[in-house]
């Protein structure tokens, strides 16, 4: 069949919401999911598709947002949703987008911009599926958004550490014991910075937190509108894995940003832009001490002063030493302080 020469691989033009009162009222992810009380990742799902709208296909890789959300023969999704494998968010996004493009190009399907969003947890995305995500971000001819919801553990299997688990956190693979207090000595991988730095064909990478819901939704809209493959990293406080009263979910999200532990930014066509309280930090506002955030969570209840100091020092370096603060760990000064 001849290639239809009039095909344009368009994206939807989704305008940013100008404030909470302008947020669309429709829900494309509704009630009836078996998530924990206070699950911020579920909130991310809701906001993600609220921003994307009805002409959307969502691919969900294995994890809490698959197992907890969709209990067979029921579903909370209003838009089409399909499960994909743990390490497959990248390939699911790519395959879905490529399939749609092929059919529209060849006139086998009505051409219209359909959002393709694939989500992964930190386990499925930063560990197992990193290769596939990286590959997808090199394919500028396919439009998709990969959203990594980061609850800082393999939460669905009852909390095991992943490459995104913070230093020293208590998980079932890193329990503090009488001989070893800290089993998990690794520092969290910098997904957004790494992917932005390494994939020049990817036009949009951003970090978000559902505590700042309108900003998060607007970044999702931008990612879906800009064209090509895009990536968003969302930090999701998790009452189960982090051990805290579910009411605290919103506040903990804010504290993560106010302490500088999680920076809010976007990289659009290579240009870094800071958001909200992160921008204030870059402009000189003092960061809240990390202990204010860490000691509100049972997973750090075993920390002693030494651990808190180490954690604080690592975060200090992000803002005091990095060439592009909070984003990427390159520095001019070769003397290591941490």
């Amino acid at each position: 069949m001849a290639e239809a020469t009039t095909f344009v691989n368009a994206t939807q033009m989704l305008e940013p919401f100008k404030g909470v009162k302008k947020v669309t009222i429709e829900e494309y992810f509704s009630s009836g999911h078996r998530t924990c009380q206070g699950c911020e990742s579920a909130l991310v799902m809701k906001l993600m598709v609220k921003a994307a709208g009805p002409r959307t296909i969502v691919l969900g890789s294995t994890g809490c947002m698959y197992v907890a959300n969709t209990t067979y023969y029921s579903t909370p999704w209003v838009v089409p949703w399909m499960h994909t494998q743990l390490g497959s968010s990248g390939s699911a996004a790519l395959g879905t987008a490529a399939g749609l493009k092929a059919l529209m190009k060849k006139g086998k399907m009505k051409a219209e911009p359909i959002n393709v969003i694939a989500f992964c947890g930190d386990g499925g995305g930063a560990d197992m599926g990193l290769g596939a995500i990286s590959a997808t971000l090199t394919h500028k001819e396919y439009n998709s958004l990969i959203l990594l919801y980061d609850n800082e553990s393999y939460a669905n299997t009852d909390i095991q550490l992943s490459g995104m688990t913070p230093y020293g956190a208590h998980t079932t693979f890193s329990p503090p014991g009488s001989v070893k207090r800290i089993i998990h000595t690794r520092w969290k991988k910098n997904m957004a910075g790494m992917l932005a730095a390494g994939h020049s064909e990817c036009r949009y990478v951003a970090t978000v937190c559902a505590s700042y819901a309108v900003e998060m939704m607007n970044k999702v809209r931008k990612a879906l509108s800009i064209g090509g493959p895009t990536f968003i990293h969302s930090l999701d406080p998790c009452p189960k894995g982090w051990d805290y009263d579910p009411m605290l979910s919103h506040e903990l999200g804010e504290l993560a940003i106010e302490t500088g532990i999680f920076p809010l930014y976007e990289v659009e066509d290579g240009v870094v832009k800071y958001y909200g309280k992160t921008k204030a930090i870059v402009d000189g506002r003092p960061r809240k001490p990390v202990r204010e955030y860490l000691l509100k969570q049972g997973r750090f209840a075993h920390f002693i002063e030494e651990d808190l100091a180490y954690f604080q020092a690592k975060v200090d370096v992000m803002w005091e030493k990095w060439e592009i603060p909070g984003v990427v760990s390159f520095r001019k000064d070769s003397k290591q302080t941490t």
Binding site: E26, H33, T71, P175, G298
Partner: protein
């Protein structure tokens, strides 16, 4: 009885470690009188979710052969004792979709036992507990529900008190001396705990529940479709899109008809529609999409869907506009907005009565700051689960709402290690 089958019905994650201690404690106590036993979690509940009802089981028998009848089983079909460690579970339990609402006493054999930790009276509980077609005994252990989380445990002696009570309920299997010995040998055991167990053993009393007593409502259930009725490709239809409520205004999303989630909550939000400033934050930040947008732009939490996380109260900027209230204070899932619409004055009275005890309303939700559990237990009566602290209640608007928030002086001195003994994954 040559074998004793017990279940612990509990709030997932919050009481996971508690349930593990109880079921293991049952087996280890019975071992002291020469019995064999197994303890296991209900596999389908795993992975557990905060608040979603779950079950653990302990089965003890005189001989290994008898024990085998109960092994490699998913869930016992009937049992002798149901231990309910949060009295709001007495309203019924829905653990996953298509499961229906299961009465708390469903599996209990005739003349069996229901042991509940509660501060309510039996009569109050029996307005929630569904009627059963056979009589059974109800035993009440006074005290708040013991809530913690995965990594930090609340040592409020609930597990040992329940073990002590069980020695009264099933003395043929658990002697109080056996219980005392097992507690002493446990990693978490102590002489003080043995004392608590004995006290519970001495004080616990029962009452017979007749077949005429209980909540007369028929709990909802579903018939599972047959293999050829199910669409192929592991595929099901999506939820339909929501609709306006009245006159083209407002919005009510379609919600899953087969998974309601209200049995997950221990508290529900009570809303003052008169003081609402329509900031949209409760609606926006609810992870469960519970809020309907009313035609006048207010927000009504759907009580079939609300799982009681409390985020709405945390983000609401107006003092007393949204207040989380203990679920036992309510009889049904009626819409508050409908109530308010019908009679605003009556609603105001109803609201005031519900939130009156707000500051001391049991915040049965777990960890807020290091040292909190110790503080609660020091400030209150151990036997009742300690004091209910309002501090640490979060929200960026906490201060303006007159709530204590902020950083707590770290009072704990111990290095906390997690309780890594929960069965069932």
């Amino acid at each position: 009885m040559a074998h004793l089958v017990c279940e612990v019905v509990y709030r997932g994650i919050f009481q996971k470690n508690l349930a593990a201690r109880i079921t293991r404690g049952i087996v280890l106590s019975a071992r002291k009188s020469g019995r064999w036993g197994i303890a296991f979690g209900r596999y389908g509940d795993s992975p557990q979710r905060n608040g979603v009802p779950a079950k653990d089981f302990a089965i003890v028998a005189d001989s290994k052969e008898e024990l085998e009848q109960h092994m490699a089983r998913y869930e016992p079909k009937e049992l002798h004792v149901t231990i309910c460690v949060d009295d709001t579970l007495c309203k019924g339990v829905e653990s996953w979709a298509w499961y229906g609402l299961q009465p708390i006493n469903r599996l209990i054999l005739p003349d069996g036992h229901l042991l509940v930790t509660t501060t309510q009276s039996a009569d109050d509980l029996l307005t929630d507990i569904h009627k059963k077609d056979a009589p059974y005994h109800i035993w009440l252990l006074q005290g708040k529900a013991s809530f913690a989380g995965l990594w930090v445990y609340k040592e409020d002696h609930t597990e040992v008190r329940l073990l002590g009570a069980l020695a009264k309920i099933a003395p043929q299997f658990l002697t109080i001396e056996g219980v005392a010995e097992a507690i002493r040998e446990a990693e978490w055991g102590s002489d003080l705990k043995v004392e608590s167990a004995r006290k519970a053993y001495e004080r616990i009393q029962s009452r017979l529940v007749k077949i005429t007593e209980g909540n007369p409502e028929t709990p909802y259930s579903f018939e599972l479709p047959r293999w050829w009725e199910m669409r192929e490709g592991v595929t099901i239809p999506a939820l339909p899109i929501g609709k306006p409520i009245e006159g083209g205004k407002g919005y009510r999303p379609e919600r899953s008809p087969v998974f309601k989630k209200f049995s997950t909550r221990t508290m529900r939000p009570v809303i003052d529609f008169d003081t609402c400033v329509k900031c949209t934050l409760c609606w926006l930040q609810c992870p469960d999409s519970c809020f309907d947008v009313t035609p006048e732009g207010l927000y009504d939490a759907n009580m079939e869907s609300c799982c009681g996380c409390g985020i709405c109260e945390a983000v609401c900027p107006v003092h007393n506009c949204i207040t989380m209230v203990n679920e036992s204070a309510f009889e049904d899932n009626a819409s508050q907005w409908e109530m308010w619409r019908r009679d605003k004055d009556a609603y105001k009275v109803w609201l005031a009565e519900k939130i009156r005890d707000k500051v001391t309303t049991a915040r049965s939700h777990g960890f807020r700051y290091r040292g909190q559990y110790e503080e609660e237990l020091n400030l209150g009566e151990l036997e009742l689960g300690g004091a209910a602290l309002a501090s640490g209640i979060p929200g960026e608007n906490a201060k303006q709402k007159g709530l204590i928030s902020g950083v707590h002086e770290d009072k704990s001195t111990s290095i906390v290690t997690g309780v890594a003994e929960a069965p069932g994954g």
